[in-house]
């Protein structure tokens, strides 16, 4: 198969020959028979890798399943997603992670790499069998209690130490629990006016600072999930300047949206479509996060795709579920906030959305440059397209996007998983 007329990382138009799931040849004017796909001058990116996806299966199949979530991922240009552990039952045993991994494998829309829970039942009391999950068919390398913080300092220390035996990483949901009891939104000007209990930036920053120090102390790898504040960026910059093995991610929504939307938006005040954890922060935080993503202080864009059924969002604010879906809009939001603003070029996007997340997750089959010999995981993207976000077009089972009606740039034209198209002409294959 030859994919004609694509611009690798935004470069000059070339053709890409694919065979046996691998890129065979890259060059201008390739000849030879077989199937041909017209790239139409689209940008070719290495298949995107998400470090932070909630697929909800097992347990909340009304919100998302492995099948619908991976279809959604393919539509967004992803060829691999890390499925978070906060399912029901929790992914804290080899059995559950293997089930999720197998479901992903069977559906075939993108690779599903399960994340294992750090503690049993995400309860923060006792380590889950991390080694058994690492040794299972799912080959778990990322461990996270995401949704909850591993707040006990001793337990966090032990987890960081223990996963060194199999080159694992602990992905921390940084949220000091006592400082965020009943927290509803960013603590600041807007929360004070709206009378909603605040989620202070310090509750994130204090845990990140502690965990960076712990990781340095035990010489382990730490990954920080969904960094949301300017203060967190400062701490990460400092930890990296020490040479410590600390990585971090930011979500597309924290790169674009602010807490002012809770008070004033086209969908009305207190609309829980903007309720997410960590919460939307201020304009100054957004600016700091963009800058940190540009300079590499933040390594990765991760979606924190968090599907919820309609009824869990159509309620009063405090009763609503936290989270937003994001797989199908991530690349567009990154273009809007980082590329079109001149902060990041397409090679930078490839690094933040494919190479780095694959490296952190130790995914050997993903995150490689588009060149002969690499697995044929590719995303073709048309950055000139512009259209309003229409949730009814999503492949996800859920509709809780904060971007409804917002005009965003770009469109995923095609996605290839090991040479096999999962999306063509913007539609699932």
């Amino acid at each position: 198969m030859i994919i004609r007329n694509v611009r690798i990382l935004g470069g000059e138009p070339v053709d890409v020959r694919v065979g046996d799931g691998v890129i065979a040849e890259v060059g201008a004017g390739l000849t030879g028979g077989g199937e041909e796909i017209d790239g139409g001058g689209a940008i070719a990116l290495p298949g995107l890798v998400d470090l932070h996806t909630h697929l909800r299966e097992p347990g909340r199949e009304d919100a998302e399943t492995v099948e619908t979530g991976t279809r959604s991922a393919a539509r967004g240009g992803y060829t691999a997603v890390h499925a978070m552990a906060n399912t029901s039952p929790v992914a804290d045993t080899a059995g559950v992670v293997e089930q999720v991994w197998r479901l992903g494998h069977e559906h075939g829309h993108c690779d599903v790499q399960p994340v294992g829970a750090v503690t049993l039942g995400l309860e923060g009391r006792q380590l889950a069998e991390l080694g058994a999950m690492a040794d299972s068919a799912a080959r778990v390398r990322v461990f996270s209690d995401d949704g909850k913080c591993v707040s006990d300092a001793v337990l966090m220390r032990r987890a960081l130490e223990y996963v060194k035996a199999f080159d694992g990483v602990v992905a921390q949901h940084a949220q000091e629990p006592r400082l965020t009891e009943s927290a509803q939104m960013n603590e600041g000007v807007v929360s004070g006016r709206l009378g909603l209990t605040g989620w202070p930036a310090v509750a994130e920053e204090a845990i990140i600072a502690r965990d960076c120090l712990l990781a340095a102390h035990v010489g382990s790898r730490l990954h920080v999930c969904h960094v949301s504040t300017a203060g967190s960026v400062e701490i990460l910059r400092w930890a990296k300047s020490k040479g410590w093995d600390v990585t971090a991610e930011v979500t597309p929504h924290h790169l674009l949206l602010t807490d002012e939307l809770v008070e004033d938006s086209p969908v009305g005040a207190y609309n829980p479509i903007y309720k997410v954890n960590p919460p939307l922060r201020t304009r100054a935080d957004v600016e700091a996060l963009r800058e940190a993503l540009a300079d590499g202080t933040i390594d990765v864009v991760a979606t924190d795709h968090a599907p919820h059924p309609v009824e869990d969002k159509e309620s009063e604010w405090s009763a609503a579920a936290m989270g937003m879906i994001g797989l199908e809009t991530a690349l567009s939001v990154v273009q809007e906030t980082m590329v079109d603003t001149g902060l990041l070029d397409w090679p930078g996007v490839a690094e933040r959305m494919s190479y780095a997340p694959a490296r952190i997750g130790r995914l050997t089959g993903h995150g490689h440059p588009i060149e002969a010999g690499a697995p044929a995981n590719l995303t073709l993207y048309d950055p000139s397209h512009r259209s309003p976000v229409d949730p009814s077009s999503f492949a996800s089972r859920s509709r809780n996007t904060p971007y409804t009606g917002l005009t965003l740039p770009g469109r995923v034209v095609a996605t290839f998983l090991r040479g096999k198209p999962t999306v063509l002409e913007g539609k699932l294959v």
Partner: protein, 305 residues
């Protein structure tokens, strides 16, 4: 006027004055032996109370009945709400019944905003979580205007748990709109983080503020705050922020004392102060009915209905 009354901040100065002036006219009706007006005959007002608040509910009920509206009391206890019905489904039910106005009290901040997106009738916020209580602010302004003769340039101290107080939020917004100068007085733990940008002054020192105040509004300290480290003990709170006899004596001779009720006598306010002739606390209750009549009258279009 907007269709709904959800935040005191939605009222322009003209709106607020119209409500206060309308209430003055209606107060004269309340002084007659037959208190009822035919104005809202055939209109339905639903009192949708998800929190127990007998005093606010009966105040709205009396107001609606004096205007001849049909009143339906919908209390969360013993209703479908306690069986897990969502706010949206409750709203759609009320909508189907043809509610012209829904008066809502809810423990969640912002619940009236959500309700307003699902019903066509007017929504009146009767207290939402720790957000706002606009009719309380209106009745407070009405009470102050009657006692002080006007609000422009008047100095009002609001004392106590501002962080969790819907009364304080609504009063700051409304009193600012009406030209009064508000000072919030509280321990730093009971003030919101960004209170410095609110349209008011802030002080931690009640003794410094009292001698300059035309009115002092004491806020209730909720029981659940007392053991949550907002202050060391009830006694210490009372010593530093309670309005006792000694502090009362430092106030100007014509300054008034207010409290939205229910009071913790001996905690934030001494019994002698609450019962003094300069206390408006009982008047506030009476004025509550009057101001809610004015609000319903104006929102439901009065005699043009």
């Amino acid at each position: 006027m907007n269709r709904d009354l959800i935040s005191a901040g939605d009222l322009t100065r003209d709106d607020a004055l119209l409500i206060l002036d309308t209430a003055e006219e209606l107060a004269r009706v309340s002084e007659r032996s037959i208190k009822k007006l035919p104005t809202l005959r055939g209109r339905t007002v639903v009192n949708l109370f998800f929190e127990d608040s007998t005093r606010t509910r009966i105040s709205f009920e009396a107001a609606a009945k004096r205007l001849s509206a049909d009143v339906i009391n919908f209390s969360a206890k013993g209703s479908s709400v306690s069986k897990g019905e969502s706010l949206k489904d409750t709203a759609l039910t009320l909508e189907a019944m043809g509610a012209d106005a829904v008066v809502i009290r809810h423990a969640a901040s912002g619940a009236p905003h959500r309700l307003a997106t699902w019903v066509h009738g007017s929504v009146v916020n009767a207290g939402d979580g720790t957000h706002e209580h606009p009719t309380q602010a209106l009745l407070d302004a009405f009470s102050m205007r009657r006692r002080l003769g006007g609000l422009d340039g008047r100095k009002i101290a609001i004392v106590g748990d501002v962080l969790h107080s819907r009364v304080a939020r609504s009063n700051v917004l409304l009193l600012h709109t009406l030209g009064a100068e508000v000072t919030l007085v509280a321990p730093p733990t009971l003030l919101p983080v960004a209170v410095d940008i609110w349209p008011c002054a802030v002080s931690y020192d009640l003794d410094a503020v009292l001698p300059k105040s035309d009115a002092v509004m004491m806020l209730r300290v909720q029981k659940e705050r007392m053991n949550a480290s907002y202050f060391p003990s009830e006694r210490e709170y009372s010593r530093r922020y309670g309005l006792d006899r000694d502090r009362f004596a430092k106030m100007p001779d014509d300054a008034i004392v207010m409290h939205p009720g229910p009071m913790n006598r001996g905690m934030e306010i001494a019994a002698e102060v609450a019962d003094s002739p300069r206390s408006t606390i009982v008047e506030q209750v009476a004025n509550g009915v009057t101001i809610r009549m004015a609000v319903l009258y104006l929102l439901l279009g009065g005699d043009t209905a």
